[in-house]
Symmetry: C2
Subunit: 594 residues, 2 copies
């Protein structure tokens, strides 16, 4: 039934261009019937502009596009569709032999003996839509019956070993898969459902509009697995509120790039949009608006489920003790009184009040139940020590504890947070500030000795100044780390700026193999000062794609010319799928929106 709905709305949108009056009228007649069914409670419509099905999966709607005819073009600067995969698989052998696929006859199914689950069932539907929505021109035309007619493939058979019903992705998820496209059909094998999802994405990218506008795929063998287990994108929903549907669309884009972590920097100084069950006043008084500019528990569940179905973990960040101005409205007494000369509040949490720890204990307990991921990001960056000055209670406490520096006090605070998180059975991620000093771009720095934080703490390195040195020191202390220093995508400039992001390698520091093994991966960060739903997707993509490839593909995937061509194709592929990824240089995708 939902599929009928989808067709219906799609047609309603296309009708003006196509002038398919007969079709239109039939559709409207069908619509009347569907409406009647609705009254009988048979159909489910959702509020999103996306087409939703019962359950929480939501598929994006591709834009309406007009495709360039296959041979009519001059071809100058026109991006060529060739079925290159982004990020590049570990091992791929493709030949010139081609097969074709047709909408309606091509199916996905499970191999005998494979595990089954809803995650894959939904992925089959999603990828059917993605594969067969590459524009009108690429019709499901039958190949003319002549001798050169490519063989038609009818099915992709998936085989997975691990049970997957109700599964959630985690840091140790197996994402390896094997994909074979041959005369015998398409076979996808994976240990886990997460590998199968990656394989389906790869398969969808192999298909291109070939001769006669047929859905074409080359004979291919792929063996693939990720280089790093933590491949993330950070969005900041405090500096600007990002409506749920744009977060979902971004999760789609992430899946198209095999990213597997959404680092949700959900609250910060400007606003507190998370609607807490335990402390509802936090968003009631700290959000830009308590009704419209908040993430309700239902919104959060929608985002978590949408991510889970795509094999994406959601790592929430509740940054303290700094970056907490918006908290003070709903929870008075948390912050020290600290103002700038012009009277603007700039306080941080008061780390000597026992109330602060009790409050955070309750909040973290709630978060443990809301967010299933093993990692909770505690922030800990950019604490303004001046705000701990001139407070008698703080001075007394430090004297009692024998602390001579505010860094010690900060350390004390974060240690206790980490303990709370540990007591809840979770692990903590923190920004580098928690163990390393030194301002941004400052090559001199000092990281605290081993044991300053528990071994299972993850350190996110973000300052550009000598990030390699910090990665070395952090891993020397046996701590796991995530790199973001070279991947701050909120920084923009004229021109094709992706090569430095592509060149940056999280292993590019001096250290042993054991140290390198402690690098979990990295994250593209899109801070929200100048980004909201109007420009988020176009600014992030395809710039984040090169980071996706660095984190997935083999270390020696460094050919810039090759990357440039594939990235151009991948950018157009994302645009075709509804992501307004910005252009890389003067050129044209082989279609225009109508």
């Amino acid at each position: 039934m939902d599929n009928s709905e989808f067709q219906l709305v799609k047609m309603a949108l296309n009708l003006r261009r196509k002038r398919q009056w007969i079709k239109l009228c039939s559709v409207f007649l069908v619509a009347v019937v569907l409406c009647s069914l609705k009254y009988a409670g048979v159909l489910i419509f959702r509020r999103s502009r996306y087409i939703a099905r019962e359950g929480s999966d939501v598929s994006i709607r591709s834009p309406t596009l007009r495709f360039s005819s296959e041979n009519g073009g001059t071809g100058r600067y026109l991006v060529r569709e060739a079925g290159h995969v982004w990020p590049k698989p570990r091992q791929q052998v493709s030949t010139a032999d081609v097969f074709v696929l047709r909408r309606g006859t091509f199916n996905f199914t499970y191999a005998p003996g494979s595990q089954h689950c809803e995650i894959l069932d939904l992925a089959f539907e999603r990828y059917t839509e993605i594969i067969f929505s590459i524009g009108e021109a690429a019709t499901s035309r039958r190949c003319d019956a002549d001798t050169t007619c490519p063989r038609e493939l009818n099915v992709l058979v998936v085989s997975i070993k691990e049970p997957c019903e109700g599964a959630s992705p985690h840091l140790d998820s197996k994402e390896n898969y094997e994909l074979t496209v041959s005369r015998e059909g398409v076979k996808l094998k994976a240990d886990s459902v997460w590998g199968a999802l990656r394989g389906l994405e790869t398969f969808s990218q192999l298909i291109y509009r070939g001769e006669h506008d047929l859905y074409t795929v080359n004979r291919t063998d792929i063996q693939d697995f990720p280089r790093f287990p933590h491949r993330g994108v950070l969005l900041d929903t405090s500096r600007h509120f990002v409506p749920v549907k744009y977060i979902l669309q971004n999760l789609d884009a992430m899946a198209f790039n095999k990213f597997n972590v959404f680092h949700w920097h959900i609250v910060d100084d400007p606003s507190f949009p998370y609607e807490s069950v335990t402390f509802p006043e936090l968003s009631k008084k700290g959000a830009f608006h308590p009704d419209t500019h908040v993430y309700t528990q239902k919104d959060v569940r929608t985002i978590l489920e949408y991510a889970r179905l795509r094999g994406i973990r959601v790592m929430p960040e509740f940054d303290t003790p700094g970056h907490t101005l918006s908290w003070r409205h709903g929870q008075p007494g948390l912050l020290t009184t600290c103002y700038t000369k012009s009277g603007k509040h700039r306080g941080a949490f008061n780390p000597v009040h026992e109330d602060t720890y009790q409050f955070m204990g309750k909040l973290l307990k709630e978060l443990k139940d809301v967010f299933p991921d093993q990692l909770v990001h505690l922030g800990g960056d950019e604490v303004n020590f001046n705000c701990w000055n001139n407070h008698t209670d703080i001075a007394k406490f430090m004297e009692k504890q024998g602390f001579h520096y505010y860094a010690k006090l900060q350390s004390y605070y974060i240690q206790r947070m980490i303990q709370i998180v540990e007591s809840l059975g979770k692990e903590s991620a923190v920004w580098e500030d928690v163990i390393c000093s030194g301002s941004n771009n400052d090559p001199s720095f000092h990281c605290q000795p081993e044991g300053s934080v528990p071994k299972n703490t993850v350190i996110q390195v973000w300052k550009r100044g000598n990030w390699a040195g910090k990665m070395a020191q952090v891993t020397q202390r046996g701590l796991r780390t995530i790199l973001s220093a070279c991947w701050y995508l909120d920084l923009i400039s004229l021109g094709e700026d992706w090569p430095p992001y592509y060149r940056c390698d999280p292993h590019a520091f001096s250290g042993t193999k054991a140290q390198k093994d402690l690098v979990l991966g990295g994250e593209a960060c899109l801070w929200g000062e100048f980004v909201d739903w109007t420009n988020l997707l176009s600014r992030l993509w395809p710039r984040a794609s090169v980071i996706a490839e660095r984190l997935w593909s083999s270390e020696d995937t460094t050919d810039m010319d090759d990357a440039s061509v594939r990235l151009g194709e991948h950018r157009c592929r994302m645009v075709r799928r509804g992501i307004p990824a910005q252009p890389l240089h003067p050129s044209a995708c082989p279609f225009v929106p109508v």
Copy 2:
């Protein structure tokens, strides 16, 4: 009938959110009826996603938004709607007295004795839609009948003096208007229809969601007129093809900012998307794709008419003799043979072939008929003189003419182009290169003496190096000028970058009043290397808005704090109207898209 269609599609799109099942089914039933009517040829559907009416006017569809309730918010960082007008009117007196408007009862009409025309009829419809589409929350609720209930205004009466039926805007258009909002109603007086359009825009901006979510307007008197007659936005449709609907949407945004010139840099090196009647091969072989990536004559007419109805001139630019690589495919022999070391063509027109002039004569004749504006932009920038080297025919010609420098040859070429344009009864605009030498950011330069180009030529100053000095020299030679040097909006960087654009004043050079009077205005330029439909609108707006104010408002409108507040409101207003204008700094509009 078209209006019924509009409602129909709007509902089809909203239905998922609103769950208005009853309405939905009725609509579909109506649809079946409409379909039948269609078969009888009664209804006109258009291919654009915009809802079109017969004739060429097309209104944009506002996004579906959820508004923050009036008093529920914390108000922190939430942009306040206050009915500030952007660009700031010359004279405005507003009081605290407020009136309210209601959809359905508020109308636009002509004063007795006023001229009538379709331009205004359509503007009345458009502004009804704009004013009363500021979100669901702002319903057309009746004010409760109590003593403090604001008086309701029912009509805006327009009076214009000049006949306007079939009129087109031109450089001397009168855009002055007077607007009065008082107990006696709303009165708008203007000399011409163009002033009336500006006044309607102003009126629409005065209205905000006031107490009880009512459409509210303060008692106001405005006398307004522009500082400069030429206030333009340049779009480049060669480096990336920009589909018609995005050009139209940008024309809307321009009208919201009282811009009145669309400088259409339509062709350049990468592609030739203009479908010429006389030389169809130019786009057939020079466009990214001859079917999908072209502007047909019909497309051009759509754009011209959409612009005309908003009082926006369209100044086409066909840049020669450089920037013409894409021309060579459809018109062989135009360019000199000139290659880079790596074999890339980089030629310019060969200015010594008589064929070149005959070809350009025919093309310019066509353009004269297609584009009604008095100004034709001939380009003339960045000619690569190396491409005139080592050509025997060029060397011979120069010897014969007694030219010692290539600049002389360039001058010869452009002079002849200007003569052709003059012979067609039009005037030419050219880039500064035509009369001034000196590379970008080079403070040393030299402009040719008076008489180098005819007095009616307009010089567009674009190089940042000492633009003020160039403006002085150009106007000293009695030539009119347009400033763009400080307004290249394709240049981007992190942060709130509008203040320098706002500070830049086209009169900020040493010169007499007569010289200053030769400054026609300026243009925001958005070159297309890294811009296409995915990011054009968000990158251009609201950054171009500050240039709009500089060109419209009085010279002393320089208060940055005041501008910042009004610009924030104006940005949200544009977003509300469907323009994805990017955010200025951490904050929130009082609504979210759903």
